[in-house]
Amino acid sequence: MSLAAKIKEVLICLRAGRVTLPYPFEPATVPKAFRGRPIFDVERCVGCAGCANNCPAREILVEDVCQEVRILKYLGRRCTYCGRCADLCPENAITMSNEFETATDEISDVGQTLELFMGTCQRCGRCFTSPTPLEELKLKGYRIDDLMNERWVFRSKPFLNEEKTVDDIDIELD
């Protein structure tokens, strides 16, 4: 007979008791290694675009609006929180936070835009001399992603266009 089996099953349930957590009435904690929404630290970022070049979801865009200013935009829409950007950042400017309750009806809430001032190299006109570890991160020239339409283009060119995108800074063109 399977009566013994039934009794055993009842005991398993009784012994377990109630295990449901009171979440969301009490906050849920996450472990230290948790990969939540990435947070970009503008103080540490050197604008190498290594994160943008290696993001599997193409969620980090870079645009050089002029010689000195590079905009790095994290969209956060399709981001899978894989943490590759944080792995690769040479300056540890990206931390995988413990934020996971990121539901929003305003998508820009989860994104982040960094305006980075780029120091100019006397020799090449860009901020880094070669060879640096940054070369491996595929930094080449000026980067033009489509910020307007939020599309990752991954196109770069050696010179900027003649038209100035930002009025108050004079661009020296070759």
């Binding site: 399977s2 089996a5 349930c13 472990p31 979801a57």
Partner: protein, 558 residues
């Protein structure tokens, strides 16, 4: 040695038909044959040498050789050998001889490489569209290299519908799918029903085709693909992640570090634990036994927590990069994991002792969804389905990868071929996984977790990797390429083979056993292609067609 013996026999028999042979190791044989003998070589391997059919692959090699490439992979499970039979065909309408009439397991693979690459399998017994949507124009094959990844065909016939076969005499068609409340993925079975008895069925699936392979070979790079590979499956994601990394490593002749291999093994087994507990729970839920469903999920929860603690996420571990892994196991994590598996073993032992004697669940699942050993061989069924039919195959033992050759475990086999045997196999495999994790934790060497890769990966090399997923063997095939990305990456998930066995398993069963049988291989289904609404006030009712519903849903104002 078997590989040489096999090669000798092939050369005796086919002589000039074999144009080139690559033996990259004792475990891999790449046989380049002329198109004329492809069929005979495959049939010889399958019938005479009793190989298991793994997968068929089509690839567009026109930018490099001007030809299309077709490969059929075979596995010799007792001999730890994979044999890939590769041929090149050219022309505007490339064709190879179909092998599906002799090797039914190749049925989907051959239809797939026609759909995606445009190489026709001449003489295929059922040459219908498999993967592309119904409205996709004929003659456009998305995996060809001249088709961009974001290609949207101009002449997409949105009105075209799939034509099902004629209903057999005296049968009624019962549509199962594309959506069903109990399982998550869309697939459509058109069941031919005679009273309560299922007389046959036609399958139309691939509704969630996402073009992952195309993205991998056109947009992403080697180290970005693992993050996408693990999204192939929501349950056994880490399997695909590891299988991809291993295939690339094999193709590029790299080896991951020892510690990385152990960490991969541990995480694969952690994944198996959670998957088996989830599946046993779901199977019981389908059978109407919700008590065990709840308890399985309760017992499973600590496994998810420890995975989160080690990798940063409950399910998507994002574990592998080429040459290693990304997360190390520190002392704290090891202790935590030991504690979790100790508790799990105790709890699960109690559950198995109770459930294995429970007559109700046995009566519901015995002699349901029978897959005979003959069917397993013919259709290339895998994993717990095969092992529940007395076929002792397990990629962990037969084709050892990662650290599986350094641990001891038993392959659980049952002989009764039915859903009950599949439940038992999975329930008992939990203990083997615990054994493997324990051994790994005590044997794991120190050292770096990823090998340093300084050179570019070589192009045009081929790699095969098999990983035993909780549902069966996941098989990956990679051809490396230029620009830091593969030329072709073919993934064969275990359900690809197991689902092909379903029509045979449900034949002559009652309709009510369909869900259980389908659930027992671990995939998805059901509901009708129209919806009925009833207006309560007027008591009138009307039936919406699929088209009307679609336009209703697409209307912005709702």
């Amino acid at each position: 040695m078997f590989i040489l013996h096999l090669l000798n026999r092939l050369q005796e028999r086919f002589g000039d038909g074999i144009s080139r042979v690559d033996m990259t190791s004792d475990e891999r044989l790449y046989l380049y044959v002329k198109p004329a003998v492809l069929r005979n070589v495959c049939v010889f391997l399958f019938d005479t040498m009793s190989a298991r059919y793994a997968v068929g692959i089509g690839a567009d090699d026109t930018p490099y050789s001007g030809k299309y490439q077709v490969a059929h992979n075979f596995a010799f499970d007792g001999k730890n050998l994979f044999c890939s039979v590769i041929t090149y065909v050219d022309g505007t309408a490339p064709e190879v001889d179909s092998i599906s009439d002799r090797i039914p397991a190749a049925n989907w693979s051959e239809r797939e490489f026609y759909d995606l690459v445009g190489v026709r399998a001449a003489g295929h017994p059922f040459p219908k569209r498999l993967i592309l949507p119904d409205g996709w124009p004929d003659g456009e094959h998305p995996l060809r290299k001249d088709v961009p990844w974001n290609h949207v065909p101009e002449n997409f016939h949105s009105g075209r519908e799939y034509e099902f076969e004629r209903l057999p005499e005296g049968c009624v068609a019962v549509p199962f799918g594309p959506f069903h409340p109990t399982l998550d993925e869309p697939a459509h079975f058109r069941l031919y029903v005679e009273g309560e008895r299922i007389a046959g069925c036609e399958y139309r699936g691939f509704m969630a085709h996402r073009g992952i392979e195309k993205l991998a070979e056109s947009v992403l790079t080697y180290n970005e693909i693992p993050m996408m590979a693990e999204r192939i499956c929501g349950i056994c994601g880490c399997v695909h992640n590891v299988a991809y990394a291993q295939a690339v490593e094999e193709a590029a002749a790299l080896s991951p570090t020892k510690r990385a291999e152990y960490i991969r093994t541990i995480m694969l087994e952690v994944e198996r634990l959670h998957s088996h507990l989830l599946w046993v729970g779901l199977a019981c839920h389908i059978a109407g036994f919700d008590t065990l469903f709840m308890q399985s999920f309760r017992i499973r929860e600590p496994v998810m927590r420890i995975a989160e603690k080690i990798t940063g996420n409950r399910k998507t571990y994002a574990l592998c990069v080429i040459g290693g892994v990304r997360w190390n196991l520190d002392e704290d994590a090891c202790t935590g994991l030991r504690r979790v598996i100790d508790n799990l073993e105790d709890e699960w032992r109690g559950v198995v002792a109770a459930v294995s004697k429970d007559k109700n669940i046995q009566r519901r699942t015995r002699d349901v969804g029978v897959a005979s050993p003959g069917l397993v061989k013919r259709m290339g069924l895998l994993g717990p389905v095969a092992r529940a039919s007395g076929i002792c195959i397990d990629a962990r033992r037969d084709h050892p990868y990662a650290a599986y050759d350094e641990v001891e475990f038993d392959v659980i086999v049952r002989e009764s071929c039915d859903v009950w045997a599949r439940i038992l196999v999975r329930a008992l495999e939990v203990f083997e996984s615990i054994r493997i994790i324990r051994q790994c934790l005590s044997k794991m060497p120190d050292g770096p977790i990823a090998a340093e890769i300084t050179d570019e990966l070589p192009s045009a090399r081929t790699g095969i990797s098999s990983v035993e997923a909780p549902r069966g063997e996941a098989h990956h095939f990679v051809i490396t390429g230029e620009d830091n990305k593969p030329r072709r990456w073919r993934v064969r998930a275990p359900t690809y083979q197991n689902l092909q066995g379903i029509p045979y398993m449900i034949k002559d069963q009652t309709l009510s056993d369909m869900t259980l049988t389908l659930g027992s291989i671990d995939p998805c289904f059901s509901c009708t292609d129209r919806v009925e609404t009833i207006d309560i006030r007027s008591c009138s009712h009307r039936v919406y067609s699929g088209r009307e519903l679609e336009s209703l849903v697409r209307r912005k104002d709702k």
